[in-house]
C-alpha cells in the first residue's frame, strides 16, 4: 500500500466536498474491493474518504411499494433484514450468497454497485428487479447504470446514497459459485412484478451484467420453469477462462434461470 490521506466526513455533503477537492481520492465503504487492490499496489488513491461515519446511509426500509436500502448497508444486514424476509426474500438471497461472514459483515451494497465487478452478485438483483440507484445528484435506472466491466454511469464526485427496489411478488436468485473466489461464475436473478418480467445474468458476460430478452419473453407466456425448458443463450460475447468456457456459461444461464424461476414460484 502506498501512503494516502484519510478523511472521515459525517455528512454526504462533506464527503462530496472532499471528493471535489481531491480528484485522486476514493470513497471507502466496506473496503473489501478497494483495500485488496491497494494492498497489491494496483490502486493508489491520494486519499480515502471513509463513509462509515456518515449518518443515514445504512438501513433497509419498506417505503410504499419499494424496499429502500442505504448505500452503506452491510451485506449481512440486508441478508438478515426482517422486512425483506417478509416482503421479498428473493432479494435477500443475493447478499446471503456473497463471500464469507467477514466479507458480508463489511461489504456494502453501495460499494458493490459502484465497483460493478463482472462477477458480483448485487448487479444481477439491481438489474433483475429494475431498481433505481439514488445518488447525491440524481436517480439512475438500473438499465442505465451498468456500463461495462468495472464501470458505471456514476460521474466524478457522485456518491450512491441508496438503492430503491420495487417489490416484486416473485423473485429469486440462483448462483453458481466460482470455485476459487466464491463470486458468481454465473448468477441469474429473475423477477415478476405484474406484467414486468426480468431475467438478469451476472458472471457470464464479457461486459458485465445483462438481461436475457428471450427468457423474459418466454416467461411472459407463463412464469414457470417449464417455459424455459431446453433454452440457453448464445455463447458469443461470454467470458471464457480456466474456470469455464463460454459454452459452459451459456449453458449455465439456462439451467440457473430455470432453477431461479422454480425457486421464485415455489
Amino acid at each position: 500500500m502506498y501512503d494516502f490521506a484519510f478523511h472521515r466526513p459525517t455528512t454526504v455533503r462533506q464527503a462530496a466536498g472532499l471528493l471535489a477537492r481531491n480528484p485522486e481520492a476514493k470513497l471507502l465503504a466496506g473496503g473489501h474491493s478497494l483495500l485488496p487492490v491497494m494492498k497489491q499496489r494496483l490502486a493508489s488513491p491520494s486519499a480515502l474518504i471513509d463513509l462509515s461515519l456518515v449518518e443515514g446511509l445504512a438501513g433497509v426500509e419498506q417505503k410504499g411499494r419499494s424496499i429502500v436500502i442505504g448505500a452503506m448497508t452491510r451485506h449481512a444486514d440486508v441478508a438478515n433484514s426482517r422486512v425483506l424476509q417478509e416482503v421479498m426474500p428473493g432479494l435477500a438471497m443475493v447478499p446471503a450468497s456473497i463471500g464469507d461472514p467477514q466479507v458480508r459483515n463489511r461489504g456494502t451494497i453501495g460499494g458493490s454497485l459502484a465497483n460493478n465487478d463482472p462477477n458480483a452478485d448485487y448487479p444481477a438483483a439491481v438489474l433483475g428487479l429494475g431498481a433505481t440507484i439514488i445518488t447525491n445528484k440524481r436517480r439512475i435506472a438500473a438499465d442505465d447504470f451498468f456500463t461495462g466491466l468495472f464501470s458505471t454511469a456514476l460521474e466524478e464526485g457522485e456518491i450512491i446514497t441508496k438503492v430503491s427496489f420495487p417489490i416484486a411478488k416473485k423473485a429469486a436468485y440462483e448462483k453458481f459459485k466460482h470455485p476459487a473466489s466464491g463470486f458468481a461464475l454465473v448468477g441469474v436473478f429473475v423477477s415478476k412484478r405484474g406484467s414486468e418480467i426480468r431475467v438478469a445474468v451476472t458472471g457470464a458476460g464479457a461486459n458485465g451484467v445483462f438481461r436475457v430478452k428471450s427468457f423474459e419473453d418466454a416467461l411472459k407466456k407463463r412464469f414457470a420453469a417449464k417455459s424455459l425448458e431446453g433454452m440457453s443463450i448464445p455463447a458469443t460475447g461470454l467470458n471464457s477462462d480456466i474456470h469455464g468456457s463460454a459454452e459452459y456459461r451459456a449453458h449455465l444461464v439456462g439451467v440457473l434461470a430455470r432453477r431461479a424461476v422454480a425457486k421464485a414460484t415455489a
Binding site: P179, A180, S181, H243, S245, Y248, L252, V255
Partner: protein, 787 residues
Amino acid sequence: MSATGIGAAVRRKEDIRFVTGRGQYTDDIARPGETRAVFVRSPHARARIRQVDVSAAKNMPGVVDVLTGRQLAADKIGNLICGWMIHSKDGSPMKMAPHPALAAETVNFVGDPVAVVIAETVAQARDAAERVKVDYEVLPAVVDPAKARSGPQIHAVAPGNTIYEWALGDSKAVDAAFAAARHVTRLDIINNRLIPNAIEPRAALAEYDAGTDRLTLWNTSQNPHVARLVISAFVGLAPEHKLRVIAPDVGGGFGSKIFIYPEEVVCLWAARKLRRPVKWTAERSESFLADAHGRDHVTHAELALDAHGKILALRVKTIANLGAYMSTFSSSVPTYLYATLMSGQYDIPHIYCEVDAVYTNTVPVDAYRGAGRPEATFVVERLVEVAAREMGIDPAELRERNFIKSFPHQTPVIMTYDAGDYHASLKKAMELADVKGFNKRKRESARRGKLRGLGYSTYIEACGIAPSRAVGSLGCGVGLWESAEVRVNPTGTVEVLTGTHAHGQGHETTFAQLVSERLGIPIENVSVVHGDTDKVQFGMGTYGSRSAAVGMSALVKAIDKVIDKAKKVAAHMLEASEGDIEFKDGKFTVAGTDKSAAWGEVALNAYIAHKFAGQDLEPGLKETAFYDPTNFTFPAGCHICEVEVDAETGKTEIVNWTAVDDFGTVVNPMIVEGQVHGGIAQGVGQALLEGAVYDNNGQLVTGSLMDYTMPRAYDLPSFKVGLTETKSPSNPLGIKGCGEAGAIAAPAAVINAITDAIGSEDVSMPATAATVWAALQRVQPARRAAA
C-alpha cells in the same frame, strides 16, 4: 494401555499454545536492529539480464542496501543443489543446471529472484524494490512438459531440456506379457500440478554475530539439519559449527518446506555482509510464484490382463516436469518414490516404468504430500478400475483376484512388502461404505436427476523413509536414519530431543506418550525439543511419514538405554545386583523383596551420585540413540468415495467417504484421524479443485486464491474412518505412518467415482464442474446415438 500411553487419544499438548496465539513462528521472532528484505523477481518466464540498475532504489528512504546476483556470484556463494543423483538408462548422470540464489545472467521462471532490497521496514523495502530497474532481453519460454523437448533450451547442460531418461523394470518381460495378454487397458493421464499453500508462508531471519563469527538462521524448515548441511557444504556460507539453524513453530509444510530455497541463502549472505539481522516473510502471492509446486506428470499407462482379470504386466511412460531448476529432492520424486510403488497392492509379475524428467520455465517442482506415491497410486488405481469396467468384472472383485496375499512379497520394482492384509481393509471399507446398498442409493439419486457413482482406491505407499543403505544405493546423498536423545533431569522430568520436526503433526504429544508409557511418568513431565541444530545434534527432519516410524524408533532405543542405566543406579541404591532390578510403572523393585525406589529417586541419585563410585558407573542420566530402519514401511488401505454429479451443471458432490487404513501401530488415534482427514482434503483438492495453470508465456494464471481453488470445509463430507492393523516388522513399535495416506488414496477414489457416475473415463483432474460437464457433453451425443 495407560491413559497417556501408546494408543491413547491424548489431547495435543501443543494446541494450547497454537489456539491461544502463543505460537512463535519465524515472523514472530524479532532481533535487535532487524532489517527487512524484499525480493525483486523476474516478471518474465525466460530472459537474459542485460543490466540491473539499483541506484534509484538505493536512494529511497530507509534502504540499507540493494544486492544483486552479480554480487552474490562475486562473493562466491555457491549454487543450490539437488541431493539425489539419478542416472539415465544410458548410464549418464542427471543434468543438474546451476541454480544461483539470485539470478545473475538469466532468469528462468516468473518469480525467479534477481535482486534483494534490504530496508528498515517492509514498506520501505517494497517501495525501493519498485525502483530497481532490470533490463531484460525477453526470450521464448516453454512451460508444457510434453513440449519441453522441442522448446527453447533453458540450460546449457541439458539439451532437449532433458534432465534424465530413467527406467525401472524389465521391458522385455513386460513386452512379452503384453503380447500374451487377453485384455489391455490403456490410459492417458495428466497428474495436475499443485501449489502447496501451507498456511504459514515461508520466512527466514538471519543474524550474524561478529563476536563469535557465527550465523543463525530461523526459518520455516521441515528439516533444519539438512538445511544447515546444504548451506554449509554446498552453498558454502559457513561451516556447520558456525551456522545454527532454528526452525521454530512452523505452520504446515506438506513437503514444500523440506527444500533449501534461495531466500534463506540470500538472507544469511546479506546479514553477514551488512552486519544487521535480515528478515524476509513471503507474501501469499510470492508463495504461489516461488514455493516448489507438486506433481505435474504426463503419463501413458497400460495394463495387461488375462481372461480372468489376472494382471500380467504394467507399462508406464511418464514425463515429469521439474521446473526451471532442480530443487533439493526433486529428482527422486518421479523415480524412486514413484515407479517403486507401481505394483500397488497387487501381485504383478512384470512392470516397466520409464520416466523422462524435463526442465520448463516454471517454478521448481518437488515433493508435495505423498511425493510420487499419489501419482503412482493414481496410475495403478485408475488402470485397475477401468480394466474392471472394460472386462465387466466388479472392481472390488478384480482387486481381490490380484491382491498380494503372502508376505514378504518382492515386487518387480525394488520394494519388498513386509506386512499387510489388503483383503481385510477392502472388506471392512465395503461394509462401512454400505456398498451393498449402493444400487438402491443410485436409483434414489436418479429420481432426483443426479448421477451417483462409487469409486475405490486400494492404495499402498512406502513410508518410514528410509533405510540409509537402500536409499544410498539408489543415489540419495544422505542417510535417512533418525536420532533421539533422552535427558532425564534430577527431579525425574524428561526432555526428549528429536531430529524430526513437527509442523502440525503433534510430536510434542505423541513422542511424550511413548516416554510416559515406557517410563511410567505423567505425560506433563515430558517435553519435546526439536528444530534447533544447537540443541539436537543431528536429524533428518519430517516428511515421508517418517517421524513416528523412524523417529520414535530412535526414541525407543534411547529410552531402553536410559532404563538400563537407571537400573544400574537403582541397584546401587537398593544394594541389589543389577540383574535383580525390575522396572515397571515408574518403579524399580528388587525381585523377591519389597525393596523399591521410585523413578524420581533414581533420577536424583543418578545426578547426586552419592551412592556409587565413579569407576563403574558415570553420573548423570542422558542417552542418545540413532535408528536406521531395516525397510520402508508399507501403509495401505482402501478408500471408497461416493459422489453425486449434477448432470445439468457437472458439479460433483462427495456424499460419502470411507477410509480404512492399516497404519500398523497407532500411537494416538485422534491425531491419526486428523492426519487422515487432512490428507483426504488435500487429495480431494487435487481431484476436484486444484490445478496450477501457466499460460504459454509462463505467467502463472492461478497466482492467487481468487483463481487457485483450495478445498474448503463445504467441499467435504463427514468421513467414515476405520482401521485395520498389521504391524510393521521393520521397526520396534510396529508403526507404518499415516501422514500422506489420505492425499495418496483420495484422487483415484474421486475420479473412479465420477467416471462411474457419468459413464465416461474421459475426465481429467481437477474434475471441476465445467470439466465434468464437458465430459458429459462428449458422452451424451454418443449415448443418444447408441440409444
